[in-house]
């Protein structure tokens, strides 16, 4: 179960604007899905190690050797707004 307040809180964490209709729908849909998911709460998982990855790869490292960087016009090529050869954003202080 998840209520309206929780939905709004999670949306803030996720930087996601939801309109009123979306919030209402999200409350119902997420609650349904969570009800289903919560069945794993019934399992006895005492002492079971968590799996975050199925393959154990150790020391997959890269040698400290420089590789070519992108030309700045390519790096900035897809940017919605460019200023002074940088990615322009509203100031965090504004």
């Amino acid at each position: 179960m998840i209520d309206r307040e929780q939905v709004l809180h999670v949306a803030r964490l996720a930087r996601l604007e939801l309109d009123d209709q979306e919030v209402a729908r999200m409350v119902g849909e997420l609650s349904d899905v969570l009800d289903h998911i919560e069945r794993i709460g019934e399992l006895d998982l005492e002492g079971v190690a968590p799996t975050s990855h199925v393959v154990e790869v150790a020391n997959a490292l890269r040698q400290d050797e420089p590789r070519a960087s992108l030309p700045p016009e390519v790096a900035l090529g897809a940017a919605p707004e460019v200023e002074a050869q940088g990615f322009s954003v509203p100031s965090p202080q504004a």
């Binding site: 890269r62 420089p66 050869q85 954003v89």
Partner: protein
């Protein structure tokens, strides 16, 4: 009533690698903005990080020098938050399995040393040049992804003066860092 200051420090040591923490972009300074970037450090769709072996090695050397326990297994985690200088929406850092644990520098105990990537540079632009008036900022990703060792001390310092003095010792890690070398020989890293 009198209060006693209790101070612990988190110190970011920039590691003197040739390339960034998770990509092959060269670490050089004073370049024009956004000339040292690639799909990885720009957080482009589909790009994946690969850790820099030299950064791991330097991190372990710092741990050795500080007498830390070096972790037999160490992993990276994502620290999720939104900010324009953080291209992926998370910083790759270490959480519950850092590279080094414990240790000592001078009279101060070291809690842990872990590796992470630095954020990019956010330049606050405004016609007047004053930050509080600026409406737009500009992101330069040249620095984004620089390898950092974060040293976290225990709260063993008791005054600002003591903290300042202790901080000069951090230069002990100079062979691996960009900090100027002014360390007493006893704090130099032991050869491994």
């Amino acid at each position: 009533m009198s209060y006693e200051p209790v101070i612990g420090l988190e110190i970011h040591v920039q590691l003197a690698t040739r390339t960034k923490m998770f990509c092959g972009c060269a670490l050089t300074f004073g370049e024009p903005p956004n000339t040292r970037t690639c799909p990885v450090c720009l957080g482009l769709p589909g790009a994946l990080p690969v850790a820099n072996a030299a950064a791991i090695h330097f991190g372990l050397m710092i741990g050795e020098a500080l007498g830390c326990r070096l972790a037999p297994r160490s992993i990276f985690h994502r620290k999720n938050y939104f900010y324009p200088d953080l291209p992926k929406g998370y910083q790759i850092s270490q959480y519950d399995e850092p590279l080094c644990l414990g240790g000592q520098l001078g009279d101060v105990r070291i809690h842990r040393v872990h590796l992470e990537e630095d954020a990019a540079k956010l330049v606050h632009a405004s016609s007047s040049g004053r930050i509080h008036e600026s409406r737009a900022s500009v992101v330069d990703f040249n620095r984004g992804g620089t390898p950092l060792a974060e040293m976290v001390s225990e709260p063993d310092l008791r005054s600002a003066e003591q903290a300042r003095e202790w901080l000069t010792l951090r230069c002990a890690v100079t062979p691996t860092s960009r900090c100027a070398a002014r360390a007493p020989p006893s704090w130099a890293p032991r050869p491994s």
